[in-house]
């Protein structure tokens, strides 16, 4: 049987994929350019079919704390927002990371800082992969570059979050959220039953049977000796994620003399740049990090031995370029090209920047 191909926006794909994945709850607050996630969920009424809860909270802060509560019971819960709203959620995200709970967060980025603009941007890279909230924690960060990946990364994000008891985030932007493309939806999965959750999440606050130790969900630990142990445990988990979960895609990298490195919508634009450059006889390749944390440092370091230079192409003032430079460690020239505040570069602008900065 062939699967049905649908045409939808990236935001709509996230909503449909969440229902199909068997998500238990979505808590959000509307903000452009991602409001279609909440709108689509409300229109689909999954509470009548799968029993998934969809709730428009009174604020972003309320929504992330509902996620915190739901995650504490072992449920598959998620929230979504755009840049300013994600800033509001940072305290909750830090608490969830500190309590080692799995959940899925979606950020469809827009131009900042402040309320900024509603146009696409990738300026929340630092916020997402370097912390955002307080404390030494990490978010598993997935960067979709197509509507298909918007759908696929809902399931992947939840799976990784539950594998490591850690929040995962889909870091998209206004282009991927608003554009329509073909998408094949993942198959329907039933929501986990209470019995399955109790069996799979022994840490969950699901009602204490006699004889079992109390499950306490908290990020608070006043004894610094224990808090240090907790942190050491987090760090060991992060090293394991870095070892096992790096994902990236290579596009014409085999014989490349120069490499573009770009994620999300920028990577789509850069594919066209590679096509155009190759038509001119320039051996250009594209490496697309799919996980921004863990970052594909190893493969980038390997390419530093093969290519003459790298250009980090981002819709920001130069954020991922710092991680590339750390990976390359001075071996070759690494430059950055970006447009700011909601302006999107064209393929021609990127190619011109490559020639100007690296040739």
């Amino acid at each position: 049987m062939t699967e049905e191909v649908k045409l939808m926006k990236g935001n709509e794909a996230i909503a449909h994929a969440a229902i199909r994945y068997g998500a238990d709850g979505y808590f959000g607050y509307p903000i452009t350019p991602q409001s279609e996630i909440l709108e689509t969920l409300m229109a689909e009424k999954p509470w009548e079919t799968t029993g998934m809860v969809v709730l428009q909270a009174e604020s972003e802060v309320a929504a992330i704390n509902m996620v915190y509560g739901g995650a504490g019971t072992g449920k598959r819960v998620m929230t979504s927002s755009s840049s300013p709203g994600i800033s509001l959620k940072q305290e909750g995200i830090s608490y969830i990371a500190g309590a080692e709970l799995p959940c899925l967060i979606v950020n469809v980025m827009r131009g900042g800082p402040g309320l900024g603009t509603i146009q696409p941007s990738q300026a929340d890279y630092f916020q997402t992969v370097k912390g955002g909230g307080h404390g030494d924690y990490r978010l598993i960060t997935l960067a979709p570059s197509s509507v298909q990946e918007m759908a696929d990364f809902v399931g992947l994000g939840f799976d990784l979050a539950f594998k490591y008891n850690n929040p995962a985030i889909i870091l998209a932007d206004g282009i991927i959220g608003q554009m329509m493309e073909k998408v094949v939806m993942p198959p329907f999965r039933p929501r986990k039953t209470e019995e399955e959750i109790i069996a799979e999440c022994p840490w969950a606050a699901q009602g204490k049977p006699a004889g079992r130790k109390l499950n306490v969900i908290t990020s608070l630990e006043l004894d610094p000796a224990i808090m240090e142990e907790n942190n050491i445990r987090f760090q060991a988990k992060y090293r394991k994620i870095e070892e096992n979960e790096v994902r990236y895609e290579e596009f014409h990298c085999d014989d490349a003399e120069y490499l573009l490195i770009a994620f999300g919508s920028s990577a789509r634009i850069c594919q066209k740049v590679v096509e155009n450059a190759r038509a001119e006889g320039c051996k250009l390749g594209l490496l697309r990090p799919i996980t921004l944390w863990p970052f594909p440092s190893k493969i980038i370091a390997q390419y530093a031995d093969k290519v003459k230079g790298m250009l980090s192409v981002e819709l920001n003032a130069g954020q991922m370029v710092e991680d590339i430079r750390l990976a390359v460690n001075g071996k070759i020239k690494v430059e950055h090209f970006g447009r700011l505040g909601g302006i999107v570069f064209t393929p021609d602008e990127v190619l011109a920047a490559l020639k100007e900065k690296l040739f």
């Binding site: 191909v5 045409l7 452009t32 350019p33 509603i118 146009q119 206004g174 282009i175 608003q178 554009m179 329509m180 493309e181 073909k182 919508s265 789509r268 634009i269 850069c270 594919q271 066209k272 740049v273 096509e275 999107v344 570069f345 064209t346 393929p347 021609d348």
Partner: protein, 181 residues
């Protein structure tokens, strides 16, 4: 085959929905499609545009330098996109919305008097389908039957009764498009 198209005009003219119908028609034809709207604080009277790509091969960038076809429905859109039509490409405009002549001489220019025809049909909602009909006459990138299937997919069910009117408008548009240069 790949068609890279920009449709630009005022909000409320049906720019985004015309793009959507074209994208759904491409989907029905088994093509790869991408539909990328300008999603600013657009409203009736503001400017709106959408980039639609139909292709036999996977589509890389949804953001383009230049276009094979520009469908221009008001003066600000002509000012913005005339220079971005590929050499030898196609520019289609609505005679009512454009006040200054097209300056480019290296592209093919067509005119559809869709606003006049819509007024004649006593149905201003037919406007964008008249334009779409004109486009399909010049570049038959999708079959009419697939456009009608696309309409069915993109319109909510309560509007399916409007499909015959849309079909009539598409056919009318095919009749009234004329080459300017």
């Amino acid at each position: 085959m790949k068609q890279e198209i920009i449709i630009a005009g005022f909000g409320g003219q049906g720019v985004l929905s015309m793009g959507k119908i074209l994208a759904y028609s491409g989907l029905m034809e088994g093509k790869e499609v991408s539909w990328m709207p300008s999603y600013g604080p657009e409203q009736r009277g503001g400017t709106a545009n959408v980039t639609v790509i139909l292709s036999d091969a996977p589509i890389s960038s949804p953001i383009l330098n230049e276009y094979d076809i520009a469908i221009i429905l008001n003066q600000p859109s002509l000012d913005k996109f005339e220079s971005k039509v590929k050499k030898g490409g196609i520019l289609i405009y609505d005679g009512y919305g454009i006040h200054t002549p097209v300056k480019r001489t290296d592209i093919n220019v067509y005119r559809v008097d869709a606003m006049d025809a819509a007024t004649e049909m006593k149905n201003e909602k037919a406007f964008n389908m008249l334009i779409l009909g004109g486009l399909l006459k010049i570049v038959p990138m999708v079959k009419l039957e697939n456009v009608l299937l696309g309409l069915k997919k993109s319109l909510p069910e309560r509007h399916h009764k409007l499909i015959p009117m849309n079909e009539a408008a598409i056919k009318k548009g095919m009749e009234i498009i004329q080459q300017v240069q």
